[in-house]
């Protein structure tokens, strides 16, 4: 009972701390009405631009997923306890952990500074995010390959690279492909986020529409993006359920 009271008090305090009980802020909530009114009706004249931007986002997600997964695969080989000596494994796992620590939007900020605005920076950001995320999943998949299969393949005198080619990769293939689909689905959503800092795609369009106060165009963009994301989610989960479970 005491614990529940403590949690309740902490909850109320945290709301107070971030301004939930500030009357001037509460008064601003009434802006929602005019804001929504300005969004309606959705502006359909912007559809060609939206479709072009979403296409750019999907291309960014696709390129980022493939480049990131290729890098992840290489780093995972050097991070697997079955394939790399302990010191090498430790170094590569640390590199992957460092890459993973940085969220996609920070990678995007970094590459916008380095390579300028546009989808090129976005693809690099998604590549690095994908590398960090998939690298860990891949080496964990490699390490969970059945020890019996490995013993049998080692038992014929196969080298480590041959073990990778003929036992580890085939045994983890379903999991790897399933994760590739999942990260592609994630990257389509993430590509709209990285666009918010200028890294191309539909996020860049959302940023431009927000700055120019074109809320009815913004609503159309968000609705079309939502439809695309839901369609890709659905297709991806169906493919994964059918082929990779």
């Amino acid at each position: 009972m005491k614990l529940r009271i403590v949690i309740l008090v902490l909850f109320v305090l945290s709301l107070w701390q971030v301004g939930f009980f500030d009357p001037s802020r509460i008064a601003k909530v009434q802006n929602i009405g005019p804001f929504l009114a300005e969004m309606l009706p959705p502006d359909l004249t912007i559809m060609p631009l939206i479709l072009t931007s979403i296409y750019e986002s999907i291309v960014m997600a696709f390129a980022g997923t493939l480049m990131g997964s290729a890098l992840a695969l290489i780093l995972a080989v050097f991070s697997s306890r079955l394939l790399a000596p302990t010191p090498v494994k430790a170094v590569f796992r640390t590199i992957l952990a460092l890459i993973r620590t940085i969220p996609a939007i920070l990678w995007a900020l970094f590459f916008v500074v380095v390579a300028g605005f546009g989808p090129f920076a976005g693809v690099l950001a998604l590549t690095f995010y994908t590398t960090g995320y998939l690298g860990k999943l891949f080496y964990e998949a490699f390490d969970s390959v059945s020890s019996e299969v490995l013993e049998a393949v080692r038992g014929v005198g196969a080298s480590r690279l041959q073990q990778l080619r003929y036992a580890i990769l085939p045994e983890s293939a379903n999991y790897i492909l399933s994760q590739l689909l999942f990260i592609f689905e994630y990257n389509v959503r993430a590509s709209s986020i990285v666009g918010l800092v200028g890294a191309g795609g539909v996020g860049y369009l959302i940023l431009a529409l927000t700055h120019s106060l074109r809320y009815s165009s913004l609503l159309t963009t968000i609705l079309v993006l939502l439809a695309f994301v839901l369609a890709i989610d659905l297709a991806s989960s169906k493919i994964r359920a059918k082929y990779f479970t």
Binding site: L150, G155, V156, A158, Y166
Partner: protein, 248 residues
Amino acid sequence: MTALLEARDIWFTYDSRNYTLRGVSMEIQAGKIYMVFGRSGAGKTTLLKILKGILKPLKGLVLFKGQPTTSSETAKMAYSSIGYIPQGFGIVSNISVIDNVLVGALSRVPLLHSLLGQFPREELERAEEVLEIMGLSPLKSQKVSQLSGGQRQRVAVARAMMQKPLVILADEFVSQLDPLTATEVLDVFRSLADQRKIAIVITSHDVHLASKYADQVLVLRNGEFRLKMNGGSFSESDLITAMKDETP
């Protein structure tokens, strides 16, 4: 006659307190089938792993053609001459039957060629021949995940044969099969032993097929051999008694 493979006074422990094997010795001659019986935990799998060179004994020696495997050259030669089929067969389920069989040839194929999946013609022909012997030719392009338990087991034997072994070690090999399939696979082993002079060591806890196929039976209990008898000189009840016997 020098044994092809010999375990001499082997001691082994996993936890430095309880011995899994206690002074086990056995000689393996070319062209013979050895069946090692024992209850679960008797030390059968450990013995096979030591013979294969996967585990190192705490005390004692493994000799290949009379030479101790403590020398790295002999160990390497022994390792590549001994085919090992683990309990779950150890086959790769996501590749085809013929690719699994070709895995047995990996040590003879140049690294780059093997990574590109390019095997020399003589290896491909040998794989076809082995598949024919094992009755797997019609299934060669199928993924192993689509095969039955008996067919998977044949793939494991085919891979071991592809290795051109002098000895095949098969762990709990017949226990998981229906009697008819077990008989078919043991018939193949018999012909491998008779015609190609391959020595075969099979561990099992099922004594029914021993009298028909084994040239020597051995019973392992609590890490020690309690019975060693040559083919024809034992009965099933001898084996069961030795496996159960509680006298020291």
